[in-house]
């Protein structure tokens, strides 16, 4: 039973870590350029889904009540078009398309992910402490 608490918190840790990874990837690709808008980097966001019943679970996330990353979507805000004739990525008019990553939003996203991660670490620690205390009942 208490095993499920660890499992649930574990799925959340995994999901939040994926979210943090996406933020890192977004920030890393912030200054990439491309000659077309379609080819330019789009900021990525994860969409979570709750594992509400047994059929939602799979080998990687098998705990009912946990969470998993349902899919990863591209942000749809437009990629800024910047005049940079010297760039090898410039189109025939001398423009390049930047990524649509906003570093302020990414920082907020990163902090939110970190806080959520910490919450779940705290759940694991508390569950572990309770488990240890329960084991000590036999010594009473």
């Amino acid at each position: 039973m208490i095993d499920n608490i660890f499992g649930v918190a574990g799925t959340a840790l995994h999901a939040q870590l994926t979210r943090m990874n996406l933020t890192a990837s977004n920030l890393a690709n912030q200054n990439t350029t491309a000659p077309t808008e379609d080819g330019a980097f789009k900021a990525k966001r994860s969409v979570f889904k709750a594992l509400m019943q047994q059929s939602d679970t799979h080998a990687g996330a098998q705990y009912v009540g946990g969470v998993r990353v349902a899919n990863i979507v591209d942000l749809q805000n437009p990629n800024p078009r910047v005049y940079e004739p010297g760039s090898p990525n410039a189109d025939k008019d001398g423009y390049v398309y930047m990524s649509n990553v906003n570093e302020v939003t990414e920082m907020v996203e990163m902090m939110a992910a970190a806080r959520a991660y910490q919450n779940n670490v705290e759940v694991v620690n508390t569950a572990k402490a309770l488990m240890m205390k329960t084991l000590e009942v036999t010594k009473a």
Partner: protein
């Protein structure tokens, strides 16, 4: 058997309920960022009443004996959020953290009752 069946009283079952509550709150915390997830909680009073079991009273011997009705509810309720979120998620982290702290304290309280019972039984068996 028999002698120790009720030795631990309600606390044995209460511990299981406390454990379920901690589990449910951990599910809420895990799904704090899941769109459309509705935070849930356990109604301890309802659950413990369910554990005790309720049966229909029969006034004639021809009446059909019913099984216990007590466990028809699992005591799960949805939480009412203070503020609604646009993504349909009703987990409010501050509330969940507070409840989680309380649930942990409740668990430890039940654990302490159990410990006292056990040490009492042990003392009685030793007889000194």
């Amino acid at each position: 058997m028999g002698l120790f069946d009720n030795a631990l009283g309600i606390h044995e079952r209460a511990l299981a309920v406390r454990n379920r509550r901690v589990e449910m709150l951990s599910q809420n915390i895990a799904n704090a960022d899941t769109p459309n997830y509705k935070a849930r909680d356990l109604d301890f009073k309802k659950l413990i009443a369910g554990v005790e079991g309720v049966t229909m009273r029969t006034t004639q011997d021809k009446h059909i004996q019913t099984a216990s009705l007590g466990n028809d509810t699992d005591g799960t309720l949805f939480r009412t959020p203070f503020n609604s979120a646009t993504d349909g998620n009703t987990v409010e982290m501050a509330v969940e953290q507070a409840q989680f702290g309380k649930a942990t304290a409740d668990y430890q309280a039940t654990l302490m009752f159990l410990e006292n019972r056990i040490s009492g039984i042990r003392k009685a068996l030793r007889g000194d």
